[in-house]
């Protein structure tokens, strides 16, 4: 029993990671897996590919270069990724993401940069000793007129862990798709307004404070 709950918590963490890193790979799918219509793969009723995907776009009223620069430094990401405690860059080019998991646990996800094109795209994928297998991509495109930049994130994760993990995560209200959507909104808020909106009346009532105080 205790073994099971431990596994459950671990899988929950896996999914958290999936959701949190979820910032990643959808335009590539849009471009690469283009079929009969022009819609992104993750919006298909039956997405192509083996891995579960989450994806989302937002339009941010800031120049492409500024958003790209902010995202390029992974240590910035925990400012808006609610479930990511910290991301540390190693000398070997491997980043370690410490993801909050249920029951006070953390999961370590290790990623390397898979590809990077200045002001356009950053893609990453997990390395062999990562606790979860995942990949992600964030793409930056000019939006029409003065609308700024369209930021598109797709991320994929290994479905066996993912499917079970999603069930566990749902229990903890941390469905990856929802997490990715909320995190991306928080990124937009941070870039456009310099802060992340909260309706708390006191500092103790903010989500961050509540998480910290258990």
């Amino acid at each position: 029993m205790s073994q099971n709950s431990k596994i459950g918590a671990g899988l929950g963490g896996v999914v958290l990671t999936a959701g949190a890193i979820a910032f990643g790979a959808f335009l590539s799918n849009r471009h690469q897996n283009r079929g009969y219509d022009d819609a992104a793969n993750h919006t298909k009723r039956q997405p192509e590919g083996d891995n579960a995907q989450v994806g989302r776009s937002v339009t941010i009223r800031k120049p492409r270069a500024e958003l790209f620069a902010f995202w390029s430094d992974f240590s910035n990401l925990p400012q808006f990724m609610e479930n990511v405690e910290a991301i540390e860059a190693g000398a070997d080019g491997v980043s370690t993401w410490r993801i909050k998991a249920p029951a006070g646990q953390t999961v370590a996800v290790k990623t390397e940069i898979a590809s990077k094109k200045q002001d356009e795209v950053i893609a990453w994928r997990s390395v062999e000793d990562s606790e979860i297998e995942t990949s992600g991509e964030v793409r930056f495109e000019d939006a029409p007129g003065e609308r700024g930049t369209r930021v598109s994130l797709v991320m994929a994760y290994d479905p066996p862990a993912g499917a079970l993990g999603r069930a566990v995560a749902k229990l903890f209200l941390r469905e990856p798709q929802v997490q990715a959507r909320h995190d991306l909104k928080r990124f937009k808020m941070l870039m456009e307004t310099g802060e992340i909106a909260t309706s708390a009346r006191t500092r103790d009532e903010t989500r961050a404070a509540k998480q910290e105080n258990g």
Partner: protein, 394 residues
């Protein structure tokens, strides 16, 4: 700790002791409230027909006061007197940059956006003291309030203007003004306004200022109709008169050029379809009662203009869709883009173009807020507008 009017359920609001607001984000300010009003839309919360309200929520979205604390990125100064718009807007997103402040992308916390996005296709912006669909921010019927994006919303008001003169810049004055603007009033137009509550009265006054040839006000409370008449409107009491017949006669058989529905989702009315809607709203099937708007759509002329400042939240049945299409109507609604209007309307208050105090019937201490709600709901003829004053002697 402070005193604040809190929601506990249908017809149950109380003045409770709650925690003081604090600066959380850099652009926040804390306002010590000197005046705050009860809005007709607060009665929708009181009546329990708006989803997403939680027990203990502090209500109130029409308020003003003194700046007592500022975050590091606020441009307000301690001691300034400000009126706070009911819409919370960041000023930097796609919608704010087009002055569509009430559609701000960034004011509603990320985790609160899902419900309204499901209902409407995209998420709503945040409002003070309303539902958690619009953020669940603590409102202004309190001694203090935390005001986010204080460099965009609050307008500093000069000392020679009384609270009563400027308080309504927070909502009902710009809402009435935008309602008239949405009716696209031309010099020869006849404009009919359903509902002589505060928003209807300000819409009437605004339509006259914008140069409407005639304004016709429709209600059934004699005192409210008298206020409309005092502003220069002709009046129709819908209990005495067949409104559609009367409007056809008054417009010489053409139909009125523009109609404004300042009633909203809890419309009174005796039409049989409205009776069905009342029952469904009561049993939680969530139909908006829209009898005023249905009547307005039939009364407006072909090619006419329909403006909807009245609050609706959900769906409605038996909609005169055919009339809307066949008559080629322009329909505009929306929550008010308050920040777009505050400066120009403050000038019109200062130079005497707009009278903002004629509709105030009662001023109460904050402690008596619950009685204020009850009377504003049950005695609509006499209680036309209630202002709560946290500093007033009980």
């Amino acid at each position: 700790m402070m005193r604040a009017l809190t929601w506990h359920g249908t017809n149950d609001v109380r003045v409770d002791t709650v925690s003081d607001p604090e600066i959380i984000n850099p652009r926040d300010a804390i306002i010590k409230i000197t005046s705050t009003a009860i809005c007709g839309s607060d009665l929708h919360l009181y009546d329990g027909v708006i989803p997403g309200v939680a027990p203990g929520d502090v209500l109130g979205h029409e308020f003003m006061g003194e700046v007592v604390e500022t975050g590091s990125a606020s441009d307000l100064k301690k001691g300034q007197r400000v009126v706070v718009p009911f819409t919370i807007s960041c000023g930097g997103c796609f919608h704010c940059k087009q002055q569509q402040y009430s559609a701000c992308d960034n004011s509603n916390p990320a985790e609160k956006q899902d419900m309204s996005a499901t209902l409407y296709g995209q998420p709503m912006a945040a409002l003070f003291g309303y539902s958690h669909l619009t953020g669940g921010y603590s409102g202004g019927q309190a001694e203090y309030a935390r005001v986010p994006f204080s460099d965009v919303g609050p307008i500093v008001v000069p000392d020679h203007l009384e609270d009563d003169q400027v308080l309504f810049l927070s909502d009902i004055l710009p809402t009435g003004w935008m309602a008239a603007e949405n009716a696209d009033i031309q010099p020869d137009d006849t404009v009919a306004v359903w509902g002589c509550g505060p928003v209807g009265l300000f819409a009437i006054q605004s339509a006259i200022v914008m140069g409407a040839s005639r304004v016709i006000a429709i209600d059934h409370y004699p005192n409210r109709l008298a206020l409309a008449k005092q502003l220069g409107a002709e009046i129709i009491d819908f209990r005495e008169t067949d409104v559609r017949e009367a409007l056809m006669e008054m417009s010489g058989g053409i139909g009125v050029d523009a109609v404004i529905d300042a009633v909203g989702m809890e419309s009174h009315g005796f039409a049989i379809d409205n009776m069905f809607d009342v029952v469904k709203q009561k049993v939680g099937m969530g139909a908006d009662r829209a009898s005023a708007l249905k009547q307005a759509i039939l009364a407006v002329r072909f090619g006419g203009k329909v403006s909807i400042p009245g609050v609706y939240g959900g769906m409605t049945d038996k909609w005169p869709l055919g009339a809307m299409m066949e008559k080629g109507l322009q329909v505009r609604g929306g929550q008010t883009h308050v920040q777009k209007y505050t400066k120009q309307l403050l000038e019109k208050i200062e130079d005497g173009t707009l009278d903002t105090t004629f509709l105030i019937s009662h001023r109460l201490p904050l402690e008596q807020a619950a009685e204020g709600y009850k009377n504003f709901k049950e005695q609509q003829n006499e209680w036309t507008k209630v202002i709560l004053k946290p500093g007033m002697e009980n």
